[in-house]
């Protein structure tokens, strides 16, 4: 049985695709799943950096596509986990260095030896995006509760829906205190507008910057609350019904989200 192939995308850049891919992947690996992370952002790779693996890159995605090496030679095993490997993007090439078919083929090969292949999608809706989506059978759309991000997420959701792949939403960088003071859209607002099944809500955490600086996914930090949040997301991804943490003190929140999940 081959892996679930999930693209993590957003449209808008900088909302947390790479951070989500890294942390969700790490969490799934901690749960014993075999996880392969693929960086589809050719030319602007960052998944390696976020995981602190940048010094261990030998081969990359494009070289695999061009047949200059085997997939397993390019995969970097993350030593902090039993079953997490990363396929880095090429840095000095362009997105058209690889076709959608080639990319999908590589993801297929990766899927044979894994339970999950998570694809870190580049920002935008151009070739890089199309290639990344071509490799996947499901999508996680990441957005922040901000107007531009939601608008872009909407566009991307529309495009992926055309390809008829199931989509679930992660609302990232929520600031509950700003929601309470009426200065930020709530999760409910976002779900209202986008009408997509909610997979997770991740609050803003300034520690993320530090962890990226050090190349250590935040879920390795037992003291950080995001670790438990990503655990919940992983469990939901695997089909469990896990209640959403109520960050905002909205009494209708739980029921609404429950209704959305059921729908």
């Amino acid at each position: 049985m081959t892996a679930r192939k999930i693209v993590v995308t957003s449209g808008k850049g900088g909302v947390g695709k790479t951070t989500t891919t890294a942390n969700l992947g790490a969490t799934l690996a901690k749960r014993g799943r075999r996880v392969i992370l693929v960086d589809a952002d050719i030319g602007l790779r960052n998944l390696d950096l976020v995981l602190g693996l940048e010094k261990r890159i030998v081969f990359d995605l494009v070289e695999v596509a061009e047949g200059r090496c085997q997939l397993r030679q390019a995969l970097i095993k993350d030593k902090r986990f039993d079953s997490l490997a990363v396929l880095p993007a090429a840095q000095t090439r362009e997105k058209d260095a690889i076709t959608a078919e080639q990319f999908a083929g590589i993801v297929e090969s990766a899927a044979e030896g894994a339970d999950y292949v998570l694809i870190d999608c580049p920002a935008g809706i151009e070739t890089g995006f199309r290639n990344a989506v071509a490799g996947a059978t499901e999508a996680i759309v990441v957005t922040t509760p901000e107007v531009s991000a939601i608008r872009d997420a909407d566009r991307v959701i529309g495009k992926i829906s055309e390809a008829k792949k199931p989509i679930r939403l992660i609302v990232n960088r929520l600031r509950p205190e700003m929601v309470r003071s009426g200065d930020m859209l709530s999760v409910e607002d976002v779900c209202d507008v986008l009408s997509v099944e909610l997979l997770g809500v991740v609050p803003d955490d300034e520690e993320i910057i530090d962890t990226t600086n050090r190349g250590e996914p935040i879920v390795l930090n037992e003291a950080n609350r995001l670790r438990a949040i990503y655990e919940k997301i992983a469990r939901r991804l695997e089909g469990e019904l896990v209640p959403f943490t109520n960050f905002e003190n909205q009494t209708l929140f739980g029921r609404l989200i429950g209704a959305l999940k059921a729908g």
């Binding site: 107007v147 939601i150 608008r151 909407d154 566009r155 959701i157 529309g158 829906s161 929601v179 003071s181 009426g182 200065d183 930020m184 859209l185 709530s186 607002d189 209202d192 507008v193 986008l194 009408s195 997509v196």
Partner: protein, 145 residues
């Protein structure tokens, strides 16, 4: 700082403003992305109105306009002829309309609204907005609201 801005820009929390703007901008975005749906909607609209008055199908113009806090669809449908009212109620022309100039804003209130759903905030129907989707995002009122 946020307090200062609240005083400067009014008391309503900015998230309420944001949500409203987002709702409207997504409606406009979706309409832009669905030209086939708009064509189908135009055809259906004209078919319905043609049951009551004779229209110039070549010169129909449909556009969408932001009006205050909603999006409205404006249809300009030139009327070529209005039949004499018949016993069974078709050709429902008030005498005023019968003498109206041939090309006019389709402000014929009665027939259009008898068919069109009552004006209400657009349904935020999503996702399956393919060509034949009849979940029209904008209220299909023929009259300028």
């Amino acid at each position: 700082m946020i307090e200062f801005l609240k005083r400067l820009f009014g008391q309503q929390g900015s998230s309420a403003t944001a949500k409203e703007r987002l709702r409207l901008v997504l409606m406009t975005d979706h309409l832009e992305l669905a030209p086939e749906m708009i064509d189908a909607m135009k055809r259906d609209l004209v078919d319905v109105i043609s049951r009551y008055v004779e229209v110039d199908r070549e010169k129909i113009d449909v556009s969408f306009e932001r009006q205050d806090r909603t999006l409205a669809m404006l249809a300009n449908i030139p009327i070529l002829a209005v039949n004499r009212p018949s016993p069974n109620g078709s050709g429902a022309a008030k005498p005023a309309e019968a003498s109206a100039p041939p090309s006019t804003q389709a402000e014929v209130p009665a027939p259009a609204q008898a068919e069109a759903p009552p004006a209400k905030p657009p349904v935020r129907k999503r996702r399956k907005r393919k060509k034949s989707q009849a979940a029209a995002p904008a209220p299909a009122t023929a009259a300028a609201q």
